[in-house]
Amino acid sequence: MRKYGVPVFIAVVLILPFLYLPALSVAGTWKYPFLLPASWSPEHWERLFGAHQGFVPVVIHSVLLSGSVALLTTGTGFFLGRLLSGDAGHRQIQAVGYLTYAFSPVIYAYCLQFFFLKTGMSGTVPGVIIVQFLLFFPFSVIYFISHWGRNMKALEELCFTLGASRRDAWILALLPVSAPAIRTAFFQIFVFSWFDFGLTRVIGQGRVSTLSLTVWQYLAEADPHIAAAGSCLLLLPPAILMLINEKNIRFKP
C-alpha cells in the first residue's frame, strides 16, 4: 500500500484540475472562497449548444478538418515512409523531423503567412489543412520509416517467395499487418490537428473556426463556465484514444 502512495498522489494532483472542468461546466454560482459551487445547472451546456451560437457546425467542421489533415498526412507518411525506409540518410531525416516537431507552431505560421496571403489561401479551410499537413508531415514520415523496418521487408519477400503477386502481398499481408500502425498514426495526427491553436489562428485569420479557437474565444470573453463545457468536448477524442491504445502513443511534449 505504501508503494502506491506517491504515484497515486501525483496522479490525483495531475488529474484533479481535469475533474474540475466538467464540474465547472455544470456549476451554477461558484464564488470565492467556496470550494464547491452553491448550485448545479445545465445552463452553460444549453448556452453552448444554443442555436444562435452555431456551435454544432463548429464541432462538425473541426472533426472534418482534423479528419482531412489526418487522412492526408497519414497517407503520404505511410507511402513515403516505405520508400525511405532503406535510406542511408536516416540521421538527417530525423534531424529535420525534430526541427519541425519542436518548432513553435505559431511562429511557423507567421513564417509562412506571406506565402499563404500571396496564394490567396490565407483564411481558407484548404489553407489551414495545408499548413497543418506541412507541420505534421515529418512526424508521420518518421513514424512510418520505423514501421517499414526489416520485419516488413522480410514479410514482403516471404509473400513473393510463396508466389503472391504484388497486389496480393499488399492486400493480404502488408496492409493488414500495417493496420494498427496506420490507426495509431491517424488518431495521433487527428489529435495534433484537433488541438492546434497557433496555426489555425494565424493562417485561418479568424475565418476558419475550430473547437480550439471557439474555446479560446470564450476564454478571452472571460466566460469560464462555457469555456469549460467546450474544453470537455475538446478533451473527449484524446481521452478515448488513450483508452484504446495507451502504449503506442507519442504526444507532443
Binding site: K3, Y4, V6, P7, I10, A11, L14, I15, P17, F18, Y20, P33, F34, L35, L80, L83, L84, D87, H90, R91, Q94, A95, V96, G97, Y98, L99, A102, S104, P105, V106, I107, Y108, Y110, C111, L112, F114, F115, L134, P138, V191, W194, F195, F197, G198, V202, V215, L219, P224, A227, A228, S231, L234, L235, P238, A239, M242, E246, K247, F251, P253
Partner: protein, 273 residues
C-alpha cells in the same frame, strides 16, 4: 533511387520553413514587404540592442530549463522507484491522462487554479486562513512554470517508463547486483545514466518545445517581459506596420536558436546512428 524520395521529404518538410525564414530575413533587412525601404540593418540593430529581445530569450530559456530540471527528477523517481505500480493499467491511465491535454486547456486550468481567486487559493484559505498571492501574471512567472511542469511530468514519465522496459533495466540491475553493486550504485551508475542517455534527444526536444511555448504564457504571463513566442506573435498582430520588420528579425533569431538546439539534439541521438 531513394535520393529523389529524400528530396521530396526535404521539399515538403524543410523548404517551407526555409523559405519562410529567408523571407523573414529579407523583410527584416528591408528587402521585402510593403514599402520596403531598400537594404538596411537598422531593424536588426534595434532588435539586437533592445533589452526586450534578450530578456525575452533568456526568460524563455530559463523557464524551459527550470521545467526540465524539475520534471526530469520527478519522472525518474516515479519510473525507478514505482515501476511495479506503473504496471497497473488503471494507475498508468490516470497518470498518463494529462498527457492528452492541449496547452490551451492546461493554460485555462492554470488560470482557474493558480489565480488569486482560484481553487488553490481557496484551499489555502480553508487550510491556513491565509490569503495566497496570485501565481499568474506573477513576477517570477510561477504560474507558467507550474503549468508547464505539470504538463511535462506525465509525458516524461511515459517516455522513461517505455525506455526502462526497452532497455531491460530490471535485468541490468540484476546483473549489477550479482557483480556486487550496491543499490545506490545501481541507481546512479546504471539506471539513471542508461535512461537519461536514451531519453536525451527527447528531453532536448521537450526543451525546444517549452522554449517556444505559446498558449500557456499567453494566458498566464505578464505583459512584460514575455516569452519569445508571445513576444513575436504580439509584434506581428499589432496594427503598427513599423513593428513587422522587428517581428521578422525576432523570428529569424528564434529559428536560429531552435536550429542550434535541434542540431545538438540530433548529434546526441544514437538511435539514428
Amino acid at each position: 533511387m531513394s535520393g529523389g524520395y529524400r528530396g521530396l521529404f526535404y521539399g515538403i518538410s524543410l523548404l517551407p520553413l526555409l523559405a519562410g525564414t529567408v523571407y523573414a530575413l529579407a523583410y527584416s533587412l528591408g528587402l521585402a514587404g510593403i514599402g520596403a525601404p531598400a537594404f538596411t540593418t537598422g531593424y536588426w540593430a534595434l532588435v539586437l540592442q533592445s533589452p526586450e529581445t534578450w530578456i525575452s530569450l533568456l526568460l524563455s530559456l530559463a523557464i524551459a530549463l527550470a521545467v526540465v530540471i524539475t520534471a526530469v527528477p520527478v519522472a525518474l523517481l516515479l519510473v525507478l522507484n514505482y515501476s511495479e505500480v506503473l504496471e497497473n493499467p488503471v494507475i498508468r491511465y490516470l497518470l498518463f491522462l494529462p498527457v492528452s491535454v492541449p496547452p490551451l486547456i492546461a493554460a485555462f486550468m492554470g488560470t482557474e487554479w493558480l489565480g488569486a481567486g482560484g481553487m488553490t487559493a481557496r484551499a489555502a484559505l480553508v487550510a491556513t486562513g491565509g490569503v495566497m498571492p496570485s501565481l499568474i501574471n506573477n513576477y517570477w512567472h510561477a504560474g507558467i512554470f507550474i503549468t508547464l511542469t505539470f504538463m511535462s511530468i506525465p509525458f516524461l514519465t511515459i517516455l522513461l517508463w517505455q525506455y526502462s522496459r526497452a532497455e531491460k533495466l530490471s535485468g541490468l540491475a540484476e546483473l549489477a547486483t550479482s557483480l556486487g553493486a550496491t543499490r545506490r550504485q545501481i541507481l546512479f551508475r546504471v539506471a539513471i545514466p542508461v535512461l537519461l542517455n536514451r531519453a536525451l534527444p527527447q528531453i532536448g526536444l521537450m526543451f525546444v518545445f517549452l522554449f517556444g511555448a505559446y498558449e500557456v504564457p499567453l494566458l498566464l504571463g505578464m505583459q512584460s517581459p514575455r516569452m519569445i513566442s508571445v513576444l513575436i506573435a504580439h509584434k506581428f498582430s499589432k496594427f503598427d506596420l513599423a513593428d513587422i520588420p522587428h517581428a521578422y528579425a525576432l523570428t529569424v533569431l528564434y529559428a536560429l536558436v531552435v536550429s542550434i538546439i535541434a542540431w545538438l539534439v540530433s548529434r546526441t541521438n544514437r538511435e539514428a546512428a
